[in-house]
Amino acid sequence: MSKKLLALTGNDAAAYAMKQINPDVVAAYPITPQTSLMEKFAQFVADGELDTEIVLVESEHSAMSACVGASSAGARVMTATSSQGLALMWEIVYIASSYRLPIVMPLVNRALSGPINIHCDHSDAMGIRDSGWIQLWAENAQEVYDNLLQAIRIAENSDILLPVVVNYDGFIISHAIENMYLYDDAEVKKFVGEYKPKYTLLDPKKPTTFGGFDLPDYYFEHRRQMADAMTRSAKVIADVAKEFSKICGREYKFIEGYKLEDAEVAIVALGSTVGTARAVVDELREKGVKAGLLKIRMFRPFPENEIEDALKHLKAIAVLDRADSLNAVGGPLFDEIRAALYNKSTIPVVNYVYGLGGRDMGLVEINKVYSDLAETAKTGKAKDLVTYLGVRE
């Protein structure tokens, strides 16, 4: 294991991972806050550091379409997007997973319009949560890099063959500089390996048809297969993490608890907010408050049993959502965490919708969540099921 410590932005980290992966084809369209990722990657290609074919398209719909074409032809394919770009890709996003094409895509999370906003929230990722893409989430630039390298192996596993999206917070992670480790090119190359497609359009000895008409007599069976692959992918994700630990020195889990074992109250969150919440947990612990934290790294497939195991001893739980389902019930992560605990516990679970459109989520806001939780733990009843945290009244 050899590492070098560097200060990089999250987008640079993603571009570096893509450089080391050296995909055959990358088709992308620039969109804030993803743009600097592709600029950096294009620079690597222009400098002759790798031999990826970059396809410059006129929209994200075309970017994902080109990816689907190249992947069907048997190439190792990557792209990247954000927000409106993903929204424009939407129909092809579903096609990529349904054709079982192992495309890997960093998704630099940003709010969806409208009103137009370029800053971080998770509504773009939540828009494709039912699309059959595996979803990994990063807390910082290091995890962006590490998750991307693992994503290739997960997607291309011949038993899985589902595309993977690696989420990270726009600007907060994508544009902020952090100290992080980069691994040796040769080690990464060995880990990532060579992609040998199961089916390819470019095999004259074995001609195949992609994208045939799937009427009621077959469509359901194909969707059932996707559901099965998603279920089975959890084991592959764990195996890949174990193998990757030899390079990075730590093993990535589906979920990650922080001071959770002996906690009485805890927050569940995705992305960079987990890092901020860690600092609050440390402060509270010094004051004797038994606060804990649960980070969800793998959102698809949803690790229901692991989440239930990690949370079952608590007295009160707050789920933080950086996206609102606008369903008059709460955010998407809240729905799923609550469903995971249903029938298994009577712990009060509350929801905080926060940070929409890049609204700051600081120590003060997270402290408020924990103090509300302390009250809920005492009474056993939540005052409000859903709170919009940090919004002006």
Partner: protein
């Protein structure tokens, strides 16, 4: 119309992933002529072998042997009627659309 044979379709564990069809040229085996309400009836006597029907058929359903029309492939014909419309033979066309009898 020919009765469709009852075949046992493969279950989800058996079908090829992604709706991929690894069986090249298998469309020829698939009966896609079941949608039809009108079928083309070809008259060898009236046919002048201009091949206009063959070049215009969107389903390659005009059968050709040695450069000459020899019949209609009713397994793949959807009954669109283009062949009859383009047939230049007068006064009675060499291809007529006739209602399909069940």
């Amino acid at each position: 119309m020919a009765k469709t044979e009852k075949v046992k379709l493969p279950g989800w564990k058996e079908v090829v992933i992604g709706g991929i069809n690894p069986d090249a040229g298998s469309a020829a085996k698939y009966n896609s002529g079941t949608w039809r309400t009108f079928k083309p009836v070809w008259s060898e006597e009236r046919c002048i072998q201009c091949n206009l029907c063959w070049i215009n058929c969107p389903d390659s359903s005009i059968m050709i042997k040695d450069g000459k029309v020899c019949g209609m492939d009713l397994v793949h014909c959807k009954g669109c009627g283009i062949c009859a419309a383009v047939c230049p033979v007068k006064p009675k066309k060499a291809i007529e659309m006739v209602k399909e009898e069940k």
